[in-house]
Symmetry: C2
Subunit: 215 residues, 2 copies
């Protein structure tokens, strides 16, 4: 294995360990000592990649953020739906995704700039909404930046409630409900009728993406 | 002052102190010792009202939950909107409201049952939605329990994002946006056109309620 490959693997090992500790302890209570113990790497290796607890948290944010790719669809709104479905699936299967969301919602994480994930989700969704608008998928009055804002905030909320009441078991169901309530305010009727909100889409999309190593 | 009045005041003093400490520290890091210091009451007084940190947190939940009353309106959906507007206003002006929300969203609050606030908001909104349905304000396909669920989760999310990016300065704006996106999926068009989503409603309603001591 080349030196660079080894470094990438070590970095990933550290991030996975950090995610486990952040998810369990929250930002304030997490310590680099515990992350080192879980990762099983040397202090030197960790500090080579991350200078501080904040950098570790920011690394977790980067690693969990909007899926880089969803399979292309005829409708951009379907891709937007799919991005959320895929993320629901990841939240249930991937500790880094869970830790990233947990950290971004951690109102006790003093000293950690939590605006990045919200901003980046906003940008990703805005891009899709603007493309949907160009395609004629949106109602004429829709202000895409408002709708992007709304998706970011509302998704953040339903995931906390889902985690609280069902440990994420009902997350796809809540997400489909969210879309059923928001889409009629933004999509033209013919597009609305063509969108697929099946709750098992997330798992299906993840399986489709897996062989390419994108999930 | 009668003995009972004094007890009620002491209880309120303790709850205010607990709210301050919970809001600043989160559930895990908060200690009864610090709450005692902020409240300036004796240990005996505190333990007379609250047996544990969890009971203090549950007391904060009870104190911040759905506004008991909003001014009556011709449309039940307007009352539902107003309940949220009033709560936005409280979040910016009342530490107990802020602490309650913070605690209910605190995914690091191990050992604290955080389901109560979500359940009670759900019940309150469901009652209003069912009344709106009886009044013919809702579209025929609306499942009121789904919509109540959705309001609880989405509001929870927009308040975190608002707190994160603007320290609640844009909360009423985000709340109005939320309603503008959800109402078209549930309200009949004539009702939709009659609803007031002005961002200053919260402050106005609070002032209206204040003389009766309900805020």
């Amino acid at each position: 294995m080349a030196k660079q490959d080894r470094a990438i693997r070590t970095r990933q090992t550290i991030l996975d360990a950090a995610a486990q500790v952040f998810e369990k302890q929250g930002y304030q209570a997490a310590t680099i000592t515990e992350i080192l113990k879980v990762a099983g790497v040397t202090k030197g290796a960790l500090y080579f990649h991350f200078q501080s607890k904040e950098e570790l948290a920011l690394g977790v944010f980067d690693a969990q953020e909007p899926p880089q790719a969803v399979p292309e669809q005829p409708l951009r709104l379907q891709e937007l739906i799919d991005m959320g479905m895929l993320f629901c699936h990841r939240l249930r299967t991937n500790v880094v995704a869970r830790a990233g969301v947990r950290l971004s919602m951690d109102q006790q994480a003093h000293g950690l700039d939590r605006r990045g994930p919200f901003r980046r989700w906003h940008e990703t969704l805005l891009k899709l909404l603007n493309q949907a608008k160009e395609n004629g998928e949106l109602l004429p009055h829709v202000v895409t930046t408002d709708s992007a804002d709304l998706y970011v905030g509302t998704f953040a909320g339903i995931q906390v409630v889902s985690q609280t009441v069902s440990d994420y078991q009902d997350l796809e169901h809540r997400y489909a409900l969210l879309q059923k309530h928001i889409l009629p305010a933004i999509a033209v009727p013919s597009v609305l009728a063509a969108l697929d909100l099946s709750e098992e889409r997330g798992a299906r999309l993840a399986a489709e993406l897996a062989p390419t190593g994108k999930d």
